[in-house]
Symmetry: C2
Subunit: 384 residues, 2 copies
């Protein structure tokens, strides 16, 4: 424990804070039982350069001092969770919610630059004498799955939204994602077996609201933030064994000191075909996908898998991310197959949903088909 | 040798001819010194179903008996060559040449169904008493790099073009790709070191023309083929250590018995940035690419590589296939980077060339940007 702290402190003095922190945290596992001291701030110089989106529904992105700036807190996590689907949806979900508050026409985006890694490492830790700002509960001494105090707060994300004022980009809005565990994975001893503590939906909500309130209070104390609107959203981390990412379950817009009222979100993700006898969220969507899958498997030999992540808002299917694994990579066959997939998607899949279909072999991406706002695009790699 | 033949014969009786043959050939290495007996024919039943191209510059593809049919000779090679860039350009180049003769509006495409695997295995072998149809020269007994008779003929590709006649699709045109080695890799003893025999451009041309003439003669003897037009094209296989694929160097259109006159092709591929002090085919294109590369590397940290395959027809740059390796995979950063790549490509890269830009991490494809006929398309994976 001591060596971990001293190593971190030493590195905090170096300039490449972000990289080092993520390396360190990867190396050290997680913060389950550790507390780490807080480091310094981060000054944020902005230049006028942006990468412009070709699409008005996406943000332009600020390049600071000519370079893209990553957030120093990116990738910091409290406990282990190997579900790779969480990280993208944690990011993309917060950006989608942000668009309701910060118009893509008026605001440019930058990864969060206000919160520092050392500060967030402390916040993600357990509260203790040596870590008074920890937002996870004190260790109650128990290692029992049902009696211990679990790590509720798993990860944090900051997104900054800037507007041009008097020729300069200034921070004008912020979004904060707070990832809450549904299952907390832990070891009773180092390198030991993994145990898990389940967290109820009610607890997730209660603890998430507590943490959000405290985070906003701390942010408001920062001069740079002051009274700008802050979107705070609570995300439920998907357990390791699911093949879909987590979802945001509620959000609030803080316009001044208070947090504002919470609004429920009803996003749900489901893997298709469903596994372990799970019921389909919507059986007609599941049937449509099964028909699509049968149709293409019937006409093309050597398809080793056709699966989808279905994303719902309430009962409405918003999108299907489909992965098709093939064993062929000949150009003519891939090209023909891509045409056929597009035709079949158009014929069988629910017409309202956006589609993102990846056609790949074990080695590499071969082609894709997308449908966005009803319009299909497809591409075969290296087709000349 | 004996066991290889008997295993092949046994498998030839099974229905899954294609799969088995390619497995077998992979397992057995190559045909350098082997001869394999010829097998039976392949009846070709066609149904009216096609996969339709959404784009008039691509062929519709015939689905035979409801399924996509692969060519039984696909992947058969005479000698070892591990250059992965050859296979795609061998296919795509022949299809491009075919479009000049067989209009995409009138013909549908099917992978070659006339030539059988066993026949082509024989043709790719050395001529010998037991393999009278071998199109590679007799073994002259020498193992010396400069004295031995090299394997000239490396691989063969058949593409079928069909038209609808009286409600049925019938074979109406054919294209044959003949891949000629520039360097023949061989072992002096099994599992021994690899040696190589270089083949001059003049020899490649002379031998290629000899082989093409014989192949067309043999095809014309097949009733199914009869007098349909046959596009025959000679392809120079790129050596193993180049990072680009080979190119077609001449072609001819046989309209009846004779081969027709040869037309030269002047395609050239080059890796950018150039390696080993090689001169750029066109220094202003190479400079443009260098500027593009510098520009994006300057603004985005953690780019581990930016390389291109430049494809020329004579002195005209036709296309750039660019691969950008990054170490980041956060959604916001990938999205911003993709926007920036498109802007930079539009600003720096030669405006006439088609672009195919892949943005990837070691693990997976992250995004792509293409420009075809001056129109940009881009896509970020899993962006919701």
């Amino acid at each position: 424990m001591k060596s971990r702290r001293s190593v971190l402190k030493k590195f905090l003095k170096t300039t490449s804070l972000l990289l080092m922190c993520s390396l360190l945290l990867t190396a050290c596992g997680n913060l389950q039982n550790s507390s780490l001291s807080s480091g310094g701030g981060d000054t944020n110089k902005t230049s006028v350069q942006t990468t412009s989106s070709s699409d008005s529904s996406s943000y332009d992105v600020l390049l600071s001092g000519g370079k893209y700036k990553t957030s120093p807190i990116s990738g910091l996590t409290a406990a282990d969770n190997t579900n790779q689907f969480n990280s993208r949806s944690f990011e993309s979900g917060l950006m989608s919610l942000s668009k309701k508050q910060f118009s893509t026409n008026n605001y440019v985006f930058q990864e969060g630059q206000v919160l520092t890694a050392s500060k967030v490492v402390d916040w993600l830790g357990r509260k203790s004498k040596s870590n008074p700002t920890g937002l996870n509960p004190k260790d109650n001494g128990s290692k029992d799955e049902n009696k211990r105090a679990p790590m509720y707060f798993q990860q944090m994300l900051e997104e900054d939204y800037l507007t041009k004022q008097d020729g300069k980009y200034k921070l004008a809005g912020m979004s904060i994602g707070i990832a809450m565990n549904k299952i907390d994975y832990y070891q009773k001893k180092q390198y030991g077996a993994t145990y898990k503590t389940s967290i109820s939906t009610a607890e997730q909500k209660e603890q998430g609201e507590r943490i959000a309130k405290e985070v906003v209070k701390r942010l408001r104390a920062n001069k740079e933030v002051g009274n700008i609107p802050i979107v705070v959203a609570l995300y439920s981390v998907a357990p390791q064994d699911t093949l879909v990412g987590g979802t945001y379950f509620q959000y609030s817009i803080s316009k001044s000191d208070s947090l504002g009222s919470w609004k429920d979100l009803n996003y749900r993700n489901q893997m298709l075909p469903t596994v372990n006898g799970e019921n389909a969220i919507n059986s007609s969507d599941a049937d449509a996908f099964a028909n699509f899958k049968d149709h293409i498997q019937n006409y093309f030999p050597n398809l080793s898998g056709v699966t989808a992540q279905a994303k719902y808002d309430g009962d409405t299917l918003k999108s299907l991310d489909i992965t098709i694994n093939t064993q062929f990579d000949g150009l003519a066959q891939v090209t023909s197959f891509t045409q056929f997939v597009q035709q079949s998607a158009s014929k069988y899949l629910p017409s309202g949903a956006d589609l993102d279909i990846s056609i790949q072999t074990v080695d590499e991406q071969q082609a894709f088909v997308t449908r966005s706002n009803g319009k299909f695009t497809s591409h075969v790699y290296d087709a000349d």
